[in-house]
């Protein structure tokens, strides 16, 4: 193993060698630089391999042949090796990326680059405090030099600001060092740490002050929130490849330096570090909201991430040996992602966020961009996810809830502005000039993306080894979804066949080992998904990006069912959220809605994370915080904590089922999605939320919080959601939005059923799950088919399509009969069970609201079928063909399914009924033969179907016979008060269909909720917009900010 000192020696030697070369030999100089960087990378990679694989202990390297306290020593452990690897690798790739800039400036710039890398590696390796100062100064000066690489002439001013601030920092650091030396007698960090313990009380106060100055200097290097204007200016104006080094390598090195320093200061300074870290994380993220320049946004984001890692370091006393796992996970994710994003920004010409739409022509770049964003936000299979989970678990165990809340709030904001940016890239119109595909950049980006995934695997493996968590990347469903990324070159129909085969195959493999309840959800997720995927055969071409996203969603859902412990459940939850986000984003105008969907879902997911963390903490009883927490153990959560856990989890799941107040994302997301995506999202995805609620209620049952019965509150929420969902659906003019609002209403029904907490209530909720899937997917498909043919979704622009699109009409007819609960079909079954359920339950008032929402459901369904299929046919729709075959086929399958389920509901419900007995022994149904009876009433579906069928057929045949000679007339042969109708558009009544209801109950549908959420987002935005004026751009002001920051922390530290 080559000694780590050669990393520094090689860089220096190469830098000096470059001096010897003539100015013209720039190619040779560039080659030497690359060689040196590659050598450094190889050494650190070698060390990392040694430590990671053989688990060797950390090695000390002495200089000048004498033991540490008296000479400078370097230590190489796993952390140092990994960090030097990241630093040198980033430098190497950045060198590749800024090849032309380096060649333009000549060998001097290359020398400075080498010295910069040397400096960062030095900061990581050295154990001597003064040596650390020297390397920091080296880094500062080389940054000053490398800024000249940028073609942005504002970079000079940024460089100067940086030098001013580094002067102030060096003053503080030097004074701190010398007084610390005076107090402890040594300059070696480890020596200083031991000496600090045994310091005599007299000079302890002086040492504390000296340490404070040193600590403030190093923290200032970490660009803390109030005092980081200078860093943002560098990020914005420097050459993007250098910004990558500055953010990834500089950030990593400075963080490790602070970590080493914290060893000296002991636990007294950890709260200060946490405080500064959290303020930076939340403040920088908040101020990033109104940013429009991409590099400045990345600057804010990197400052925030470093703040987060500082917080993690500040929690070292609590995290114990997990600190490495969590801090390194976040750090590596940040470094790889930030470097990758900066390299991407070097490709894009325009600087606004929407200028990145130029990436659209290159699927590989889009994939890389998505990987980096997921890395940064910490979504599953990436290391950030495991780190975030462990952090939340430990923080909850220690009762630091406020800190956890702040971190999650900051993470949510970060996810918002990052995925808003991703939305712009996918949806905004492409700028004129395409991206400059320099080979160096592309290589760097690809390497970064691959490293991201490899890190994901490594962290999964580490989590598996250390904590017994399942490695996500080894989960079969997720692998299947990611395999589709490689199959993107296949035509769409082959991929579709593969997908359907995969879904059905996986179902056939594993359906055996589930209890009836999970089995029903499993059937809906997989078999239901396969049937909807049939509709995807209508698409032509390759449909790049559709199948990975869809399969990711399905993978998430299957893993949700399979999950036994909270980690598996939460990982699955986030996977399906990400998958569905990318799926919804494919719609033509779906960008803002997909973003609101993601923000709500991630908000909900973070609540669930907090809930699970609280549940696992078990703090009050002194039970040791659990490493893995099985879902079923939710029942044993201690009393004072259980209601809070229930509350958090319930709200989290209710964001997914769009309960009132959290519903505003649903109409846009479901309406604007593609034809075959809407049924997937509406028919299947909402059930994931319900499944979560089932699990929650199954394990935790009724909970009391301050005397209020939480399930009673859920009952009211379900009822009001049902009422307002249906009421809003009535007044919609857009067909898909109508169906989306109706989904909210139906989910309100299911939530109500669940909250009844009795046997039949749950059975009703399950019945709704099945029914809602069938008819909602059918309705969405048929409306999608009609919208594809007519080119519009506004109902008043359609009309009279019954003759042209008969099959769609039949599907919608059966759909609305079933959905409105009219007897012969399965909807009635749901309503019948509902009635029996409410008779059993002891509550009275919420039923009133549900009764009103029942008939209202009938109204908007009729509006849907009337305005689209009946009424007057427009001129331009005269030559319409039936909806594409592949969209009609699933509808016909659903019609058969509905009829079958109407006649024999037992096939699905019987076994679930017995399964429910273990939760609610009394009040079950008994399935004697054809007749289904409950303690209150009875219901015989087959008899009803036969009777109604016979009556109907006899009358129908009779009327047909009598009117066999009737004269077939056309659309304007109507009695129009002896006048002639003017045009089809003016005689088709569709606009403002239920005017009386709007006059009578219009006040109920005022958009209060939208205004509420709008107000929150606006305050955040305007607040951030005002706050960011704080960075006036004046270098001197930045130095004053820094001084003010130091004084403020001093006053604050003195205060505690």
């Amino acid at each position: 193993m080559v000694s780590a000192i050669f990393i520094l020696a090689a860089a220096l030697a190469a830098a000096f060698l470059l001096g010897l070369l003539k100015d013209e030999q720039r190619g040779v100089a560039y080659a030497i630089t690359l060689l040196a960087l590659a050598f450094m990378t190889w050494i650190s990679a070698d060390w990392t391999w040694a430590f990671a694989m053989d688990g060797a202990a950390s090695v000390d390297i002495f200089t000048a042949g004498t033991e540490p306290p008296f000479a400078i020593n370097l230590r190489v452990g796993l952390a140092e090796a990994v960090l030097t690897l990241i630093i040198s690798l980033t430098a190497l790739l950045s060198a590749l990326a800024m090849k032309d800039a380096l060649l333009a400036l000549g060998r001097r710039a290359m020398a400075v680059l080498l010295v910069a890398t040397l400096a960062f590696c030095g900061i990581v390796l050295t154990r001597d405090i003064f040596n650390l100062f020297v390397f920091f100064e080296l880094a500062a000066i080389s940054t000053g030099g490398l800024i000249l690489l940028s073609d942005d002439e504002r970079a000079l001013a940024a460089g100067f600001k940086y030098l001013i601030v580094s002067q102030v920092i060096s003053i503080l650091l030097l004074i701190g060092i010398i007084f610390a030396y005076h107090a402890t007698g040594t300059l070696n960090i480890d020596g200083m740490a031991d000496a600090a313990q045994s310091i005599l009380p007299g000079s302890r106060q002086a040492f504390m002050l000296a340490f404070f100055l040193m600590f403030m200097a190093l923290v200032a290097e970490l660009k803390p929130f109030p005092a980081n204007g200078w860093a943002l200016d560098i990020y914005e104006s420097a050459h993007p490849a250098y910004s990558a080094i500055f953010s990834a390598a500089g950030g990593a090195a400075a963080l490790y330096a602070v970590d080493k320093l914290l060893l000296v200061g002991g636990t007294a300074w950890l709260p200060a570090a946490t405080g500064i870290g959290v303020v930076t994380f939340v403040g920088a993220n908040l101020l990033a909201l109104p940013q429009t320049n991409d590099r400045r946004l990345l600057g804010y984001s990197s400052v925030a991430q470093i703040g987060l890692i500082l917080t993690v370091l500040g929690q070292r006393d609590v995290l114990g040996d997990l600190t490495g796992f969590v801090a390194l996970g976040l750090l590596l994710a940040h470094s790889v992602a930030k470097a990758g994003l900066y390299w991407l920004s070097s490709l894009v010409a325009g600087r606004e966020l929407s200028a990145w739409a130029a990436l659209r022509g290159h699927p590989l770049m889009i994939f890389a961009f998505a990987t980096f964003l997921c890395l940064l936000v910490g979504l599953p299979p990436f290391p950030g996810f495991y780190a975030k989970w462990e952090l939340a678990r430990v923080l909850a165990a220690e009762g630091r809830i406020a800190l956890l809340a702040l971190i999650l709030f900051g993470a949510l904001i970060e996810a918002t502005y990052l995925f808003r940016w991703f939305g712009y890239t996918i949806k905004r119109d492409k700028p004129a000039e395409d991206i400059a595909c320099a080979s160096g950049n592309v290589i760097a980006i690809c390497v970064a993306a691959v490293t991201g995934w490899v890190l994901g695997y490594l962290w999964g493996d580490a989590a598996n080894v250390m904590l017994g968590r399942g490695n996500l990347l080894l989960a079969l469903p997720l692998l299947f979804a990611l395999a589709f990324l490689l199959l993107e070159w296949l035509p769409a129909w082959t991929k579709n066949m593969l997908a359907i085969a995969g879904l059905v195959g996986y179902f056939a493999l594993t359906w055996g080992d589930y209890d009836p309840l999970r089995l029903i959800f499993f059937v809906i997720f997989l078999i239901g998904g396969a049937v909807i995927l049939l509709a995807s055969f209508h698409a032509h071409g390759r449909r790049v990006g559709f199948y990975p996203a869809a399969m990711l969603m399905y993978a998430g859902m299957t893993m949700l069912i399979e999950a036994t412990d909270t980690f598996g459940f939460f990982a699955a939850w986030e996977i399906l959220t990400v998958g569905s986000y990318f799926l919804i984003l494919r719609g033509k105008h779906s960008e803002p809605h997909a973003l609101s969907y993601l923000v709500f879902s991630l908000g909900g997911a973070f609540l669930i994370l907090a809930g699970f963390a609280l549940a696992a903490s078990g703090a009050p009883l002194g039970v040791s915080p659990r490493l893995t927490f099985a879902l079923s153990e939710l029942a044993q959560v201690a009393q004072p904590l259980a209601p809070w856990v229930f509350l958090l989890l319930a709200i989290g799941f209710m964001t997914k089922t769009a309960a009132i107040g959290l519903h505003i994302w649903l109409p846009g997301a479901h309406a604007e999605a593609e034809t075959d995506v809407s049924p997937m999202v509406s028919g299947i995805l909402l059930k994931a939320g319900l499944f979560g609620l089932f699990i929650l209620l199954m394990s935790m049952g009724k909970q009391q919080l301050y005397g209020i019965e939480l399930t009673y509150v859920m009952l009211w929420i379900g009822a009001i959601t049902a009422l307002l969902g249906n009421l809003m659906a009535i007044f919609q003019e857009d067909a898909k939005r109508l169906l989306a609002y109706s989904s909210i209403g139906q989910m309100g029904y299911a939530l109500f059923g669940l909250a009844l907490m009795n046997h039949l209530g749950w059975l009703m909720a399950l019945m709704f799950v099945i029914n809602h899937y069938i008819y909602k997917s059918m309705l969405f498909l048929s409306v999608g088919g009609v919208a594809k043919r007519t080119g519009t979704r506004a109902m008043y622009q359609m009309g009279g399509l019954i003759a042209l699109m008969p099959l769609s009409f039949i599907a919608v007819l059966i759909g609305i009969i079933a959905m409105s609960g009219v007897p012969p079909l399965s909807g009635f079954g749901g309503r019948w069970i509902f009635y029996n359920a409410i008779l059993e339950s002891e509550y009275r008032l919420p039923m009133v609201v549900i009764f009103l929402s029942g008939p209202i459901a009938f109204l908007y369904l009729f509006r849907l079928i009337h305005t689209i299929f009946l009424g007057q046919l427009k001129d331009e729709h005269r030559k319409l063909k039936e909806a594409p075959f592949w969209i009609v086929l699933p509808q016909m399958i659903y019609v058969v399914l509905l009829l079958a389920f109407a006649v024999v509901p037992g096939i699905a419900l019987r076994r679930v009924d017995e399964y429910m007995n273990q939760f609610f022994p009394t009040g079950g149904l008994n399935w004697s033969g054809l007749n289904i009876s409950s303690p209150y009433g009875y219901w015989d579906p087959i008899a009803i179907m036969i009777i109604v069928g016979c009556i109907f057929m006899t009358l129908f045949l009779w009327l047909l016979f009598v009117n066999r000679k009737a004269q077939k007339v056309k659309q304007f042969n109507i009695v129009f008060a002896a006048e002639r109708p003017y045009r089809p558009e003016t005689t088709h009544f569709a606009w403002n269909f239920f005017a009386p209801y709007r006059k009578a109950l219009g006040f109920l549908v005022q958009p209060f909720v939208t205004q509420f959420w709008g107000a929150i987002t606006d305050t955040l935005h305007t607040g951030a917009d005002i706050a960011r004026r704080f960075y006036t751009g004046n270098g001197q002001t930045y130095a004053i900010h820094l001084l003010g920051f130091v004084v403020a922390v001093y006053l604050f530290a003195r205060g505690i």
Binding site: E876, H877, K879, V969, K970, N973, V975, R980, R983
Partner: protein
């Protein structure tokens, strides 16, 4: 011809251009056919009896006679006793009372309503204006003989017959129906061209199909 009835080219949502001919596309162009009576006489008599007992009048008042029909709904005359009823739509009505002078413009609407009624349908003309033009005999814009344009079953004379006269008229109408002679619809169908020619001669802006179903 009004612009909305002109032939025009229309582009479908999928970009396909095709021609829309309103009169052909919006209206059914079938000509009326003679509706045969029920198979056997006894059934036809029975139906005629039922038709006579429940005469539904189309609420389409033209000219000054319509005001005479209002008293029939009041307690004093009460036509409901005789199974007579007023229906707002021609679809559901059997009897069309042309109550007074018929300007050409109203004739066009009367023809459209008459043709939208289902056979068997009957027409009663009130007052002299429907018989020979009455006091408007030399007017340029009224029609002189209703019979040229619609098959009339009964005329009730009187320059506006009083409600009692109307009731008497209804009684006569019942007799005609019961006797089976009220075949105005079939007469109209048989001499359809003759009627059409007369009507088109008077109505110049003929912007509707020949037979308004």
């Amino acid at each position: 011809m009004k612009p909305e009835l002109m032939k025009r080219m229309v582009k479908g949502p999928d970009g396909q251009e095709f021609e829309v001919e309103p009169l052909r596309d919006y209206y059914c162009e079938a000509a009326p056919t003679v509706m045969p009576a029920a198979y056997i006489k006894i059934v036809e008599d029975f139906f005629n009896w039922a038709r006579s007992e429940s005469i539904w009048i189309l609420g389409f008042g033209t000219g000054c006679g319509a005001i005479e029909m209002r008293p029939l709904m009041t307690p004093r005359f009460d036509a409901y006793r005789y199974g007579v009823q007023w229906r707002p739509t021609p679809r559901q009505s059997n009897l069309f009372i042309i109550s007074g002078y018929l300007s050409v413009k109203t004739l066009k609407r009367a023809i459209r309503s008459y043709e939208q009624m289902q056979s068997p349908k009957y027409v009663i003309g009130l007052g002299s204006c429907t018989i020979n033009g009455g006091m408007y005999w030399d007017s340029y814009n009224t029609i002189k003989r209703l019979d040229d344009y619609l098959p009339v079953d009964l005329y009730i004379a009187g320059c506006m017959p009083r409600p009692e006269a109307l009731l008497a008229g209804f009684m006569d109408m019942k007799k005609i129906i019961r006797a089976g002679n009220a075949e105005g619809a079939n007469k109209y169908a048989e001499n359809f061209d003759w009627y059409k020619a007369n009507q088109k001669q008077v109505i110049h802006d003929w912007d509707m199909p020949d037979y308004n179903w």
